[in-house]
């Protein structure tokens, strides 16, 4: 097992805009070790979501290299990246992104079923139990509150026992009480499963619970703080 799970080197992303190019990410380099929890903070529009999308292989960089679990994502085709995501990555999004036509239980089962594994239902139930939704397994997303939906999303993210969990403003759409619950849940499972966590947030309190904070500004990595967790 390599120590470093994520390595970005001179990651640059630009979008054509009329004649000019807008550079959204400008030569960003950093590494993340196995089991680490890292947060990315910065003002709105500084390129956090863009960076996360690149790290998770949802998008391709304009230049620079990125390797995740040793896979060079830039050099792979979309379906191969999908495979890597399925094998090693979990996601939690600001707007939950559950499949509206599937029940909570089915939503949680999807990633494992995709792998072709059998007997996934028991594991999905157990996870839903763990996030406190044992009695809501057959509800559809539209029948759940935002906080509940995000808990289903967390259960879905962890069911594959991912090596890295990416989260983009996981509490952005939630009230304080729910936000706290989700945060606790995230860190708790993260510790238990020894997952690497990459977290994008505006919330400094949340950021300070991680071991490292990467600070973005105008597409550049401007500061890196290393905190020791109490």
């Amino acid at each position: 097992m390599p120590d470093i799970v994520l390595a970005a080197e001179n990651l640059t992303k630009s979008f054509p805009s009329g004649e000019r190019e807008i550079v959204v990410l400008d030569h960003v380099s950093f590494t993340v070790r196995q089991g680490e929890a890292v947060s990315i903070i910065g003002p709105s529009g500084s390129g956090k979501t863009t960076l996360l999308g690149l790290c998770a292989g949802l998008d391709v960089a304009t230049s620079g290299t990125l390797s995740l679990m040793g896979f060079k994502l830039n050099a792979m085709d979309e379906d191969d990246r999908a495979y890597v995501r399925n094998q090693f990555i979990g996601f939690v999004f600001q707007n939950f992104q559950l499949l509206a036509t599937l029940t909570a239980l089915e939503n949680v089962m999807v990633p494992l079923e995709l792998r072709g594994e059998k007997g996934v239902e028991a594991r999905a139930r157990e996870l839903l139990e763990r996030v406190g939704l044992g009695d809501r397994t057959h509800h559809y997303p539209s029948q759940l509150s935002g906080g509940e939906q995000q808990r289903v999303a967390i259960a879905r993210a962890f069911i594959t026992a991912p090596k890295v969990l990416f989260a983009d403003e996981p509490t952005g759409n939630l009230d304080e009480e729910n936000a706290t619950r989700i945060t606790e849940l995230l860190f708790q499972i993260n510790r238990e499963e020894k997952t690497t966590l990459v977290l994008v947030t505006h919330n400094l309190e949340l950021a300070e619970r991680t071991e490292r904070i990467l600070q973005m500004k105008g597409g550049k990595l401007v500061n890196e703080r290393i905190l020791t967790v109490a």
């Binding site: 999308g53 949802l58 060079k72 379906d79 599937l102 999807v110």
Partner: protein, 856 residues
């Protein structure tokens, strides 16, 4: 840092070996099928129309083929308009085949019970006719009685109409016959023929005694021959052919009768094929557009699936399975519905056809429908669904992220097959590859034109945007060119629907117009014919006595062609390369002479050289335009006529365009005066009857004094024909309705499909405080625009397509019912607006929050 292999060896599973995909298809589809309602509706109506129409086609073909022998009543019928000469009959006798004969002619009969008279077709029968099919009479022994002599039988409808029963008598010519009974069914008969020309049957041996057969009477003699095998018919024909040719006899075999029937129904078949094709195309449009929208709606879901690691193909397969399963179900339902509808068609057809149609389930048609259904559910769903494969997973982070368009191999192959599909389908329907390609080209042009109109329209609205208009107008118009909207797709689909429906309407009008009778305004409504020269003065005097105008009194001389352009007719017959039909060469021509153009005629070429000149070397005659084409003649070509054995040399001096139904009688050849006056001739007089009672008395006296003179009441025929075409029109409209319903489903679909794009916006508008009325108006403006331009474009295109189809495919005159077309355009527009409004209602009546939540 260690780096892993770049290319991962994934197990790419095929559709069939990936249970997850099937499970997801089911889970996603179970509550969601209503979103594919339009898809399945297009499928059902499209397939139903195709199955119903092609079943009808097959049924008709099958029945006509099956009945051809019974329609003919024999294996071979030899025809002549002279009595068969004895050497010929001796030759036939020596062949030892079963024979029967008949002769028929038009004649007046008088019903002795009431004294009324009517023109009928008089048929004199001899022998055991018919050999095939049934002769059903009431009472059973009627025909046996007729064969003994002084008995006659008549068509049941005629007997009913004139209240004739078994004991009554009728006067035919100068003889009186007792009525033996009525004829219910006879080969070659049927309501169609018997309403136009009801038949009275007598024995062949009695024909001469009626005194009806005189010079100039048009009598058809038929010899019916029954053979044991088809081979025997062919052999016999081979032996008789030269003899028949020499005597200008013609013949009819079962095979030829089949072809004739086929020809007669060609326009009908073509129309049916066009209808089926149209239904199919509309179905395909409906399928493709609803799946296109479905795929769009599924984008977010696909993005999530891709995020958690499903491959593009897996995502595609999930929706493909759903759509394909529904497509199959739709095809089966559609085929069942089509079979059901087909059972209804005989109700509309009634007894229009000369044969009884048995509408069995046509399994070939059902099979075709199912195969088409499967093809459509693959071809027309793959193209819109392929987009699913390229949904960027990044959309989970950015909702409105649009990836660049990807042109994949699958897309290209499908597109190619899609273009090929209508070509093959049309080619199969019309049995012509050229027609198929042209149909498809026409559709492609229409599609292109609509796309262009959509683009121009959008550009115009942007360019001349009414900045100072009220909020509602600005918002309604702006809706047309918002990002992510459906204006283009909708304009094209609605326009195509309108285009197809109105093209169909034009073809229908043209077909119906073709058969419509223009004769109602004729100057004359009654025609007296077969007047002998010696009777001419007497008949005219009788007309004067009853104050009937002499609108036309024309002589008729019968003659035949002896040579054309200096080549004897016998020689032309041998030379098949000339492509002049035999019947045109050997037929008897009834010509007249006069020195002016009739009001139904127009000279289109040459001169009317009315005088033959002093010393008659060659006489200038005029010919009607139709026959001029058939005989391949032009002005200046020479013709030799055989007038009762006397050769008369002529040349074509001019060509007349003749409006045949207008003011009969009309003639193919017209001679100048001063040539044929001395030839044996009969006369025809045309008059106009207004007072029915006066007419009845005139008719009675005419039949008493001149029994051989026949009188046709054109009004009677016109009303019968009117009624007939009324029935035909009902059938044509009924069938066209199938296709139109499919079109409506597509229209409704196109508008409904745009709903999901609009719902969110309208909810937002409401959230920021727009009143219901404002939203309704915005919607009406937007859809009104769409409907108006789509309908107008479709209509303009359909005029072009209708003209092309009428002229080159149906070969009929192009006719438009402007009012109906405008009604269609208005209907399309209203329907668009209505459905648009109907959709926005669901937004208006639910609280915004619920919608926002549902749409997430």
């Amino acid at each position: 840092m260690i780096e892993y292999i770049i290319k991962i060896k994934r197990k790419t599973k095929s559709l069939l070996r990936d249970p997850w995909v099937w499970r997801m298809a089911w889970r996603d589809g179970r509550h969601n099928a209503s979103r594919l309602f339009l898809f399945i509706a297009s499928m059902i109506t499209g397939i139903a129309a195709v199955v119903a129409i092609s079943s009808l086609n097959y049924s008709m073909q099958q029945e006509l083929n099956r009945n051809a022998k019974e329609l003919l009543g024999a294996d071979l019928v030899i025809k002549s308009n002279k009595k068969f000469d004895s050497t010929f009959t001796a030759l036939l006798d020596s062949a030892a085949v079963q024979q029967a004969a008949n002769a028929d002619m038009a004649s007046m009969v008088m019903f002795m019970n009431t004294g009324q008279s009517r023109l009928v077709k008089l048929t004199a029968l001899e022998g055991d006719f018919p050999f095939y099919g049934d002769l059903i009479t009431l009472p059973d022994d009627s025909y046996a009685k007729v064969r003994t002599g002084r008995y006659a039988m008549l068509d049941e409808s005629l007997a009913t109409q004139y209240e004739v029963s078994s004991d009554d008598s009728i006067k035919v010519g100068s003889s009186i016959f007792r009525v033996a009974g009525v004829v219910r069914k006879i080969p070659g008969g049927g309501e169609l023929t018997s309403t136009i020309a009801p038949v009275v049957y007598i024995a062949f041996s009695e024909l001469d005694s009626t005194g009806l057969v005189q010079y100039g009477s048009r009598v058809n003699y038929n010899l019916f021959v029954k053979t044991k095998t088809e081979q025997e018919t062919t052999d016999l024909l081979k032996r008789l052919r030269p003899e028949m040719k020499q005597r200008a006899y013609s013949f009819d075999t079962v095979e030829e009768r089949k072809n004739d029937l086929g020809d007669g129904f060609r326009s009908v078949y073509r129309f049916f094929s066009l209808l089926a094709f149209v239904a199919l195309v509309l179905g395909c449009i409906g399928v493709a557009s609803s799946v296109h929208i479905y795929a769009r709606e599924k984008r977010d879901e696909v993005a999530i699936l891709r995020c958690v690691g499903s491959s593009g193909w897996q995502a595609f397969n999930i929706y493909f399975i759903q759509v394909f399963a529904l497509g199959l179900a739709g095809s089966v339902l559609g085929a069942a519905l089509g079979v059901g509808l087909q059972q209804l068609i005989p109700l509309a057809f009634g007894d229009l056809l000369p044969v009884e149609l048995k509408f069995n389930v046509q399994w070939v048609a059902v099979g075709e429908g199912l195969i088409l259904g499967v093809l459509i559910s693959v071809l027309f769903t793959v193209l819109p669904l392929v987009a699913v494969r390229f949904v960027p997973p990044l959309s989970v982070l950015r909702t409105d992220f649009n990836a660049e368009r990807v042109i994949s191999k699958t897309k290209i192959v499908t597109l190619f097959l899609i273009v090929l599909f209508p070509v093959l389908a049309a080619a199969y329907q019309t049995r012509s590859f050229l027609a198929g390609s042209l149909f498809t080209a026409g559709l492609a042009v229409a599609l292109g034109a609509l796309t262009a109109v959509a683009a121009v329209l959008l550009w115009m609205i942007k360019r001349y945007f009414p900045r100072r208009a009220s909020f509602i107008w600005r918002h309604g118009m702006a809706n047309l060119f918002r990002p992510n909207n459906q204006t283009r797709v909708m304009l094209v689909t609605i326009g195509l629907g309108a285009f197809i429906i109105s093209t169909l309407n034009i073809i229908q009008s043209s077909l119906l117009n073709q058969v419509e009778f223009t004769g109602n305004s004729n100057q004359s409504n009654t025609i007296l014919f077969d007047i002998q020269s010696s009777q001419r003065e007497g008949v005219l005097k009788l007309m004067d006595q009853y104050q009937l105008p002499r609108n036309q009194v024309v002589p008729i001389i019968t003659c035949r062609l002896a040579s054309v352009k200096g080549v004897p007719v016998e020689q032309i017959q041998k030379d098949t390369s000339l492509r002049i039909p035999n019947w045109a060469l050997t037929r008897e021509y009834r010509v007249t002479y006069r020195d002016s153009l009739h009001l139904s005629e127009e000279l289109v070429k040459g001169k009317i050289q009315w005088r033959g000149g002093g010393v008659v070397d060659s006489v200038g005659v005029t010919i009607s335009d139709g026959m001029q084409e058939t005989l391949r003649l032009d002005v200046g070509d020479s013709l030799v006529f055989d007038v009762q054995g006397v050769p008369i040399r002529t040349f074509i001096s001019g060509i007349r365009k003749v409006d045949w139904p207008k003011d009969p009688p009309n003639f193919i050849f017209v001679f100048p005066t001063g040539v044929l006056e001395a030839a044996p001739q009969i006369w025809v007089a045309a008059t106009r009857i207004t007072d029915t009672q006066n007419a009845n008395r005139f008719q009675q006296e005419l039949v008493m004094s001149y029994p051989n003179v026949s009188l046709i009441d054109l009004r009677l025929i016109l009303s019968t024909i009117d009624e007939l075409f009324g029935k035909v029109a009902v059938v044509v409209r009924f069938l066209a309705l199938f296709s139109i319903i499919t079109g409506l489903v597509v229209l409704a679909g196109a508008v409904l499909n745009s709903r999901f794009a609009r719902v969110k916006e309208n909810v937002l508008l409401r959230t920021v405080g727009a009143r219901q009325r404002q939203i309704v108006r915005i919607t009406l403006i937007e859809y009104g625009y769409l409907g108006l331009f789509a309908a107008l474009t479709g209509m303009v295109l359909s005029l072009a397509a209708g003209w092309l189809l009428a002229t080159f495919f149906f070969e009929i005159k192009f006719a438009v019912d402007v009012l109906e077309l405008l009604a269609i355009a208005a209907g399309v527009m209203l329907l668009t607006v209505f459905i648009g409004w109907f959709n926005s209602r669901s937004v208006l009546n639910t609280p915004p929050l619920q919608v926002l939540r549902r749409e997430g």
